[in-house]
């Protein structure tokens, strides 16, 4: 496998008033170029922390993130992030929000006209051209999230990081945006890392679904390969045995993982990795 992005033995501790909290403990993952990876797990298990580490917004306590053979030390537009709550600047129009990213990333390489065309192109990709002069508070939640995606895509990132991008949306809007995202990825071939709560979303979109154990000291519990042919159609897949099986696998993990944690929770907040757990981790990562 030609590794594009590697998470190498990542441990992440947070300092809290009640001592150190170990969020992640030994995350290992290799991602190929153009792969779509979903991170799924219970709330608070550290999925978003993984994403923030790849983005460079957080610095790992142990181990590191490697992109194209180089360690990530700071955030950068080549690892664009779509935030959970869109994070558009409320005082700028849709166009200006995307323009902020484009002028920063392409200010020196593209002419003004080229930049404008590029902004228009990305708004077109997410079907938001009609609202280019509206402000975020004048458009719906789904539209805001589209603009957030357009802004991220406009940075022409190698890796697209999505933090529960469709979590706050109604089912219909979510389905539309998931289809758009598949379409866009098929066209642009970005490597995508997406955090989600939604089992169907994970199976539908991903090449691999990475399931995290319950924290503290979360690590990868299991990885599920989703070998469904693309382009994928949600209606056709609903009856597909492979799809149903994948879905069941994840659900089983989520329910088992939860109860396993309750019985085997480490006493100290900083989890000590037992030999057995290490072994299990090696097995899980192949």
């Amino acid at each position: 496998m030609n590794t594009h992005l590697e998470l190498s033995d990542i441990g992440m501790n947070f300092k809290t008033p009640r001592g150190t909290f170990c969020a992640l403990d030994g995350i290992d993952l290799k991602v190929a170029k153009g792969e779509f990876i979903s991170l799924i797990g219970h709330s608070g298990c550290g999925k978003s922390t993984v994403l923030n580490l790849v983005a460079g917004l957080l610095k790992a306590t142990r181990g590191g993130v490697i992109v194209n053979g180089r360690q990530v030390t700071e955030p950068g537009p080549e690892r664009a992030m779509v935030f959970q709550n869109h994070s558009l600047l409320p005082w700028l129009t849709v166009f200006e929000n995307v323009a902020l990213a484009v002028t920063k990333v392409f200010g020196k390489t593209k002419t003004r006209a080229e930049q404008r065309a590029w902004i228009e192109h990305n708004l077109e990709l997410v079907h938001m051209t009609h609202a280019r002069d509206k402000r975020p508070n004048e458009i719906s939640g789904g539209m805001k999230q589209r603009v957030g995606i357009a802004r991220a895509l406009a940075m022409q990132p190698e890796i697209l990081l999505l933090d529960e991008p469709f979590g706050a949306l109604d089912a219909l809007t979510r389905a539309q945006l998931q289809d758009s995202l598949m379409e866009i990825q098929a066209r642009l071939g970005n490597t995508i890392l997406m955090v989600t709560h939604d089992v169907d979303e994970a199976v539908l979109l991903s090449d691999r679904v990475v399931m995290l154990n319950v924290g503290p000291g979360a690590r990868i519990g299991s990885i599920l390969q989703v070998d469904l042919p693309r382009p994928r159609n949600r209606l056709a897949l609903a009856e597909n045995p492979a799809y149903i099986h994948a879905r069941a696998e994840i659900l089983r993990f989520l329910y088992d993982g939860h109860s396993a944690h309750n019985t085997a929770a480490p006493a100290s907040p900083v989890a000590k990795v037992s030999r057995l757990q290490l072994l299990r981790r090696k097995v899980a990562n192949g």
Binding site: P75, G76, A80, F83, S87, L100, R135
Partner: protein, 337 residues
């Protein structure tokens, strides 16, 4: 027969059609006209009646406390004095011009002098002086407070360093600053041909010193409470420090900054009157003080005119700031009143 029986039914029908119109008018009266127009008017009338009744009963060394009617009359007098003074000024300049022209006809080499009219400033002039003083002091305070507030908001170190000093300086009364400012201005502002008078400078600086705090504190809070998500956007884009401030921090703090500016202008206007009284800057404060020292039978009425004018101008300034605040606020859901 059937057609003949319809006319008697018509009036009730018409009445039914009339009712919705009437009830609509009534509900409009109850929901809009009454609270927006009639109630405030009623409140003012109550205040005027109370004022008139209480004023009658209080006798001062300058006679009875003037009621609304007496004050209204003095307002008229003050305006007439202003008009009279303007007429005199125009006549003075006309005479001077005539005199100079005549002198030049007699001798083209003659040195003609143009002197400004030196009549005493009228009430209206004093309002103008006060407005100029307060606005320049407020502008100076804002120019200083906004950048410093941004810096303090962005740097926890700077905040920790300056916060105690700010908290101590904030509650100091203009009356306490005044002697210091007066002496400092006298020592530092030495010029043979001063562009502005010392009394103006003293009043303005007192206004600045007292009115910069609300803007400073609000700006600091605004700059420090930029949403973490927006800060992350800025980090992912690797925006430079200045671009970050200009594109993210400043716009995000604008509602807070303007809330601070509005409070500051209110404080500035309050402080101005006190400092004009003491610094003898020819504005409304000095007007009140002079009338108080003058002690004629009309003085109390004239002071009251000034007091009401001060209130009305303060109110107008606040409304203007509110409109500005609404215009620049990107958070259209916020209720500003």
């Amino acid at each position: 027969m059937a057609t003949e029986s319809t006319p008697p039914l018509a009036p009730p029908n018409a009445a039914r059609n009339l009712w919705p119109g009437l009830s609509e008018a009534a509900s409009r009266l109850a929901t809009r006209t009454l609270p927006r127009l009639l109630l405030p008017l009623l409140g003012i009338v109550v205040v005027l009646v109370l004022w008139a009744n209480i004023a009658m009963r209080i006798n001062t060394s300058l006679g009875a406390l003037p009621g609304p009617a007496a004050v209204w009359q003095q307002a008229g007098n003050l305006y007439d004095e202003h008009v009279a003074e303007r007429t005199k000024a125009r006549a003075f300049y006309a005479r001077q011009q005539q005199r100079n022209a005549d002198a030049l006809v007699e001798d083209p080499q003659a040195e003609v002098k143009t002197r400004p009219y030196t009549g005493k400033p009228t009430f209206i002039d004093q309002i103008g002086t006060s407005l100029v003083t307060v606005l320049s002091g407020f502008a100076l305070a804002s120019l200083f407070a906004i950048p410093l507030g941004i810096a303090i908001g962005l740097s926890p170190w700077l905040y920790a360093m300056l916060n105690p000093a700010i908290q101590i300086a904030r509650p100091i009364s203009p009356l306490a600053w005044l002697p210091i400012v007066t002496l400092v201005v006298s020592a530092v502002y030495v010029s043979d041909d001063p562009a502005v008078s010392k009394s103006y400078l003293v009043s303005m600086l007192c206004v600045t010193l007292c009115s910069l705090w609300p803007t400073l504190m609000n700006t600091a809070v605004g700059a420090s409470s930029v949403s973490a998500d927006l800060v992350n956007v800025s980090r992912v884009l690797r925006l430079g420090r200045l671009t970050h401030v200009r594109r993210i921090v400043l716009p995000s703090a604008v509602p807070m900054i303007f809330a601070g500016l509005r409070t500051s202008l209110g404080v500035a206007w309050m402080v101005l009157i006190a400092s004009e009284m003491l610094a003898q800057n020819p504005g409304l404060g000095k007007f009140v003080w002079d009338e108080f020292q003058n002690g004629s039978s009309s003085s109390l009425g004239r002071i009251m005119v000034a007091v009401i004018t001060i209130g009305l101008i303060g109110f107008a300034l606040d409304r203007i700031m509110l409109l500005l605040q609404r215009a620049v606020s990107w958070d259209k859901n916020a209720v500003l009143r």
